[in-house]
């Protein structure tokens, strides 16, 4: 499989990244080089192999539903680029531009 410049634009939109035309061309070439290397996996028949999502034999980990102190609000907000009272402040989500 190979990607086109249009595919790269679509992936960039999904990833919330923007690129110059030059960068898009470069990414298209580099992604195709990497993907053509990755395509060697298709020489393996994995139809009877189950996917492996995690490597150690840990089962679901549960704990008692006990309230414990979390990160205090002030410390959680300390790195906020902008805040109002006890909230993170961001530009308008909807409405006029």
């Amino acid at each position: 499989m190979s990607v086109t410049l249009k595919d790269v634009e679509h992936i960039a939109t999904l990833a919330r990244l923007s690129f110059s035309d030059e960068e898009k061309r470069q990414f298209t070439d580099q992604l195709n080089t990497i993907l053509s290397y990755i395509d060697q996996l298709n020489t393996l028949d994995t139809s009877s192999v189950a996917p492996l999502a995690q490597v150690i034999d840990t089962e679901n980990v549960l704990r008692n539903d006990v309230v414990v102190p979390g990160l205090p609000t002030e410390r959680a907000l300390a790195n906020a680029p902008a805040r109002t009272e006890e909230f993170f402040k961001v530009p308008k989500v909807i409405g006029e531009k």
Partner: protein, 481 residues
């Protein structure tokens, strides 16, 4: 104090402390001076100066009172992907340039509790993505022997901090080889524990099913000591294992007679620098001479490890790095008109090229229509690779391989060709796919005098066996620290 004085193992430090000829304060001052003296290596992003000195004096007081922890006298630097409360955590990225950690990573809290002094934060490839420490927003790290060479990566700053005598030990993270490969390039010991052996709480997530934290040190015993202090279940990381942590130091000094040692034939195929092959072969000969049973084994899916890894690790990264959106922390682009523009511009201005490349690849392999062809395929191949190791470890107790196909390469040599950079991890990535522990230790030099690393791989949670073999090879080497 010169770097040669600070370039010493914890055993020597403790001898000096016990003899009363030095103090933790003096040792810490020595490392700080050495780090300043060799600042051109660019190993550190931040040094803790006064705070480290305060901590050192506190450890001295505890020593006097006979109440010091097991790492009293050890001065440790921390890869800047791991949280130290109240200090910047940049991850080598503009996007986190001004982020201050609100809490200690579990590993840092445990090292402090063992009375290690925390010296500062080390440079790395941005978000731990790279094999050369050239991809840092804060400039590349230089190899201590030759500034034109890379120290390996992504934990290059940590490797250099230990190799150049700027810390007794250092914490790195290893997602595909980021501890073992720079340890090999700089001629020191680097230990990647079993997945889940060490809590990841406070480590910036790159690829969560692969990420591990481990130590760099001058000696195998020092690496074991640091791991001992950090390992074990942590309620803050549900993937940390409850498997009991054995006494790791007791593995050191035990004989290797009768131990079954496997040589995976696929790791000795073409593409291996002849001097690396010869040096690793000498280690095998040492083991055979000491009564270990050497056997050739096969890991038939070895050729597919890099391909599977770069699907799965980039997929996990694209998901993990979605959190950097400029809303709650990190860089926010100025004057965005709406939320989506804020996301787009903060991420595009904040991330570097290699991180963007991996987010793009990861987003692609997870996107509608390609998920099963890439991500699903990668997960199936991961099982095949893990089963290869299960079968090998039914026959042998550990594996001996080169850590890297070649010694340290020149800066700029691979940075323009991502695939060639990825292929430099060919012998290390498999341990992360299978979740097994691995250690790299120095085993000689090439014709130019650049270090060569030998890698030992063990069964999950069997760090003692690889430490035992590593300590044997270290003791058998012509000279060591």
């Amino acid at each position: 104090m010169s770097a040669s004085v600070t370039h010493r193992s914890f055993d020597r430090i403790r001898q000096d402390l016990d003899a009363g000829s030095t103090t933790v304060e003096e040792i810490t001052a020595g490392y700080l001076a050495a780090a300043e003296e060799r600042s051109s290596l660019n190993a550190f992003i931040s040094l803790f100066g006064h705070e480290a000195m305060d901590q050192a004096r506190q450890v001295d007081r505890k020593r006097k009172a006979g109440a010091a922890g097991p790492l009293a006298g050890m001065v440790v630097s921390i890869k800047d992907a791991i949280s130290v409360a109240g200090h910047r955590l940049t991850c080598g990225s503009r996007i986190l340039e001004n982020f201050v950690s609100p809490y200690d990573a579990t590993v840092v809290a445990r090292l402090k509790a063992a009375d290690a002094v925390i010296l500062g934060k080390t440079n790395l490839d941005e978000f731990a993505m790279g094999s050369s420490t050239e991809h840092s927003a804060f400039g590349r790290v230089k190899h201590p022997q030759d500034p034109d060479l890379v120290p390996g990566g992504s934990s290059g700053g940590s490797a250099v901090a230990v190799a150049a005598g700027l810390s007794t030990a250092s914490l790195g993270s290893d997602t595909g080889g980021s501890i073992r490969q720079p340890a090999a390039f700089t001629g020191i010991v680097g230990l990647k524990p079993t997945y889940g052996r060490v809590s990841r709480y406070g480590l910036v997530a790159f690829a969560s099913s692969f990420d591990t934290i481990g130590p760099f040190a001058l000696t195998v015993a020092d690496a074991a000591r640091v791991l001992q202090a950090m390992a074990g279940r942590d309620v803050c990381d549900s993937t940390s294992s409850s498997t009991p942590v054995p006494d790791l130091l007791s593995a050191i000094g035990q004989p290797v007679r009768g131990l079954r040692v496997g040589l995976p034939k696929e790791y000795y195929a073409e593409g291996l620098q002849p001097e690396v092959r010869a040096a690793v072969q000498r280690q095998v000969d040492l083991l055979r001479d000491a009564g270990a049973v050497i056997a050739e084994v096969s890991l038939p899916h070895s050729a597919f490890t890099i391909a599977a890894y770069y699907i799965l690790a980039t997929a996990e990264a694209s998901s993990n790095l979605a959190r950097y959106d400029g809303a709650r922390y990190g860089y926010r682009a100025k004057d965005a008109h709406d939320l989506s523009e804020m996301y787009l511009r903060s991420r595009s201005e904040g991330f570097g090229a290699e991180v963007k490349r991996r987010i793009m690849l990861g987003t692609y392999v997870l996107s509608a229509g390609y998920y099963e062809a890439y991500y699903g395929k990668g997960q199936r191949v991961r099982r095949l690779i893990k089963e290869d190791f299960d079968k090998a470890f039914a026959q042998v107790d550990c594996l001996v391989t080169p850590t890297t196909p070649s010694t340290a390469f020149k800066a700029g040599e691979k940075s323009g060709d991502p695939l060639q950079m990825y292929l430099s991890d060919i012998y290390t990535v498999s341990a992360n796919l299978a979740g097994i522990p691995g250690i790299s230790l120095p085993c000689g030099t090439d014709g130019a005098g650049h270090p060569i690393g030998v890698q030992l791989l063990g069964r999950q949670f069997d760090e003692p066996t690889i430490l035992r073999v590593a300590a044997f090879l270290e003791a058998a080497a012509p000279s060591h620290t």
